[in-house]
């Protein structure tokens, strides 16, 4: 008897699944709309960081539509969840470009996710705006990098520590993946070029999500007690940061003694922990929520109103998304179409104001100009800007401090190549005919 019942239930379940599939049918492609793809993880490990960018993009699209859309058409966001799963990123990118035929995609956070979708974008000739600081060493025709290249974050930050703080001894602490590896590689080369002795540089890598920092922090404390002024350059990735800083706080490493300069810790990460023990530790970004400009105030107000929460923070990748979106809008208006090739052609040279009173300009290598700020952590999890670069720094895809890419340049205007060797006059590493 029971058996019959479960079988019944089974059929009901099967039916239910079928119905649900119909129920969630995609919105039909309406006429006079422009589809905008949003490719950020909403689940899995990266959701912590990426969900916010999805909301930002939605807010910007919403706002643009209020202004009457683009070229007289409404923007329709197409949100998918690549679930922090790198192959899934490629699959979803393909879906957005081939199935939904979106005009542009805003998305990705980690380097590996970008690397995973890159071939797709180049094959299907899509356009991706990538809003996160990254390791450089790349310039694709189909990607606009609105985050910082190493020379827009790492190098100035080190300059600050070396010149303003007088640091003599360096700990390069990072999570073991490509961004820290490259950044540290560049920094090591840079420091050596500035005459820092090898024994005064300690490089260490820890795995993702590393949570047991006791021993490492103790080691840093030891390294820092050698008499010379010491600083830590942290390229520790997202969720390993909270336990790291908690441990710093507990082992009473004060910023006055051993300041930690972080490249991946912003307002949002700090909102996730009690910042009081961290006062004075540093971060280098191209934007801080605390920067006092009208644009910024307006943006923060809009964000709080959109997300219906006045406590929600704003961070650098959000500004990068904001810049990216506006750059695309301007380019489309200039090109008079959303056709990717025309938009890509139109992009270099386009300018849009960033949130800190400067102008973000798309350069021939598909990176943009950015100011660089160094901030000190405040007790309330915000930053006080203690230093900024004079004027804007143009992003460089290839670092001039690495022998391997000294002679490589990227130029999509004249050379039409992202990886052009000025010695051999050859263009290599490109994916499409």
């Amino acid at each position: 008897m029971k058996f019959r019942w479960t079988r019944m239930a089974g059929w009901v379940l099967a039916g239910g699944m079928a119905v649900s599939c119909l129920a969630f049918a995609r919105p039909a492609k309406a006429q006079g709309t422009i589809k905008v793809g949003i490719l950020h993880s909403l689940s899995g490990t990266m959701a912590i960081s990426e969900t916010t960018l999805k909301d930002t993009d939605l807010m910007l699209i919403d706002e643009q539509n209020k202004k009457g859309g683009l070229l007289g058409k409404k923007l329709v966001p197409v949100v998918v969840d690549p679930a922090s799963n790198w192959p899934l990123f490629a699959e979803k990118a393909q879906e957005l470009l081939e199935k939904d035929k979106v005009a542009v995609v805003f998305g990705c956070w980690t380097s590996v996710s970008r690397k995973s979708v890159l071939p797709v974008f180049e094959k299907d000739d899509g356009l991706l705006f990538y809003p996160v600081q990254y390791e450089g060493e790349e310039s694709s025709r189909n990607v606009i990098y609105t985050g910082a290249a190493p020379n827009q974050q790492a190098i100035p930050a080190v300059d600050y520590l070396m010149n303003e703080v007088g640091v003599k001894r360096w700990v390069l602490e990072g999570t073991d993946y490509v961004y820290p590896r490259t950044t540290n590689k560049i920094l090591e080369a840079y420091l050596r070029s500035k005459g820092v002795k090898p024994e005064d540089i300690s490089v260490n890598y820890t795995p993702f999500g590393y949570s047991d920092w006791q021993a490492r922090v103790a080691a840093i404390k030891k390294f820092g007690s050698a008499g010379k002024k010491t600083a830590v350059i942290s390229t520790i990735n997202g969720d390993a940061n909270v336990p790291f800083y908690k441990e710093l706080g507990n082992q009473k490493i004060s910023a006055e003694d051993i300041p930690v300069m972080a490249f991946s810790v912003g307002e949002e990460e700090l909102s996730g922990l009690d910042a009081r023990p961290l006062v004075g530790h540093l971060a280098a970004w191209n934007y801080f929520e605390s920067i006092n400009t009208p644009e910024n105030k307006a943006f923060i107000a809009k964000w709080h109103q959109y997300i219906k929460n006045n406590k929600r923070t704003v961070n650098d990748p959000m500004e990068a998304s904001y810049i990216g979106f506006n750059l695309w809008v301007k380019a489309v208006q200039k090109a008079g179409t959303t056709d990717v090739d025309k938009v890509i052609a139109a992009l270099p040279g386009i300018e849009t104001p960033n949130l800190t009173g400067g102008m973000a300009k798309v350069l021939p290598d598909h990176h943009i100009t950015k100011p660089v700020y160094v901030g000190e952590i405040r007790a309330d999890g915000q930053f006080d800007v203690v230093w900024k670069t004079k004027g804007l720094v143009p992003g460089e895809a290839w670092s001039r401090y690495l022998p391997s890419d000294k002679y490589i340049v990227a130029d999509w205007v004249k050379l039409k190549c992202g990886n052009y060797n000025t010695l051999t006059k050859k263009c290599s590493g490109q994916n499409y005919k």
Binding site: Q94, V178, G429
Partner: protein, 380 residues
């Protein structure tokens, strides 16, 4: 056992007919729909569709291998994705060497990530992967070797049930951590990507994707028939005997451990092949493929499809992954609910999976209710 024999035996069984039929259909339809049907037509099969189906088939093969050891021999491996990933990495290494001087740094020998980590020369374990045949051998040899060593240790000392499951999990977890290390020489977190071509054929062209899909379909069909051959041989009956009463089987004079070992190794090899077919179609392989969750998910596919039927496992893999593809787009904010609910409900109401549901209508006398207890005994 002769192939023709096998065909007949497979043909006797309705499920096999459906399964092989579907594969044959796919084999014929895919190239036509993609190549001949114009892109404008509603019936056109896009590259996206191709890749998707290709992925499902690879997963189906993985599910098949799990069903072979779990459904028929009661070995629940929570680390089978490890063999899948190893095969994938072997293929990936070949594809990386195939790039040659077309890499970002234009180094003819070293893959980009090595140039970038200042490696001066190719590590020993990378030699030979510039030959396809070598890669093919490794695709099968590496998973086989690992499975053999691990299985020999585990089965000889009669590690069973949860203990076995958990150490397989430890195995894949350790491998994941190892492959995450950049110093290992496997590209760290980024793994391998940006492949150019395979055997000189451009990996970005639809033709090659169609070809890969067709190959995958064939491999899946052949693997299926081989697994059938095994489970329908007397050895297959011994396996089921082991699953249901291990020590009784021993008292009949069977060396239980060697049976487990061989079937485990065989399934590892197939898993490796699945991974190798997966990589060129997806275009990336990285350590997250080793993550224990992947293995657990694969087990879930088998359970959803229905254990101990082989084609049920394959069907489960396709179904669950289609659901995933679909939900992540249709309800990106809430697809965990849908998938989670699916798993819970299936386990509660379909103890022998979707296939069990279908079969329970056709042949009732086969005591399917008991099929649901398969694989559970070793744990009690």
């Amino acid at each position: 056992m002769g192939k023709n024999m096998l065909w007949i035996s497979a043909w006797k069984d309705k499920g096999s007919r459906w399964f092989l039929g579907a594969l044959a259909l796919l084999f014929i339809a895919a190239p036509i729909l993609n190549q001949l049907v114009p892109a404008s037509s509603a019936f056109h099969l896009s590259t996206y569709g191709l890749t998707l189906i290709g992925k499902y088939l690879c997963y189906a093969l993985l599910a098949l291998t799990i069903d072979l050891i779990w459904g028929y021999c009661g070995i629940l491996s929570l680390g089978h994705a490890a063999f899948f990933a190893l095969g994938g990495y072997a293929m990936g290494m070949y594809l990386m060497r195939e790039i040659g001087p077309r890499g970002v740094y234009g180094n003819p020998i070293l893959p980009d990530f090595m140039v970038f980590l200042n490696w001066k020369s190719l590590p020993w374990f990378w030699h030979g992967f510039n030959h396809f045949w070598f890669a093919v051998i490794m695709i099968m040899l590496v998973p086989a070797a690992l499975a053999f060593v691990f299985g020999w240790l585990a089965f000889r000392s009669r590690v069973t049930g949860v203990y076995l499951s958990i150490i397989t999990q430890a195995l894949t977890y350790a491998l994941m951590l190892a492959f995450f290390r950049n110093d290992m020489g496997f590209g760290g977190n980024n793994g391998f990507t940006d492949f150019k071509d395979i055997l000189g054929f451009d990996l970005h062209s639809d033709r090659v994707h169609v070809a890969l899909l067709m190959i995958t379909a064939i491999v899946l069909a052949v693997s299926y028939l081989m697994c059938r051959a095994i489970v329908e041989s007397r050895a297959g009956r011994v396996l089921r005997a082991i699953r249901d009463a291990e020590s009784r089987t021993r008292f009949l004079g069977y060396r239980v451990e060697s049976y487990k070992l061989w079937v485990f190794v065989f399934s590892a090899i197939l898993a490796g092949i699945a991974g190798a077919l997966y990589v060129p179609q997806i275009g990336i392989i990285n350590p997250s493929e080793f993550s224990p969750i992947n293995s657990i998910e694969a087990v879930v596919w088998v359970a959803v499809g229905g254990r101990g039927t082989l084609y049920g496992a394959a069907a489960g893999a396709v179904l669950v992954n289609y659901a995933k593809t679909y939900f992540t787009t249709a309800i990106p904010e809430a697809w965990y609910y849908a998938l989670g609910a699916l798993f819970v409900l299936v386990t509660l109401f379909l103890p022998s999976g979707i296939i069990g549901l279908v079969r329970s209508r056709t042949n009732k006398q086969k005591g399917l209710r008991m099929q649901s207890d398969k694989g559970e005994r070793p744990i009690e």
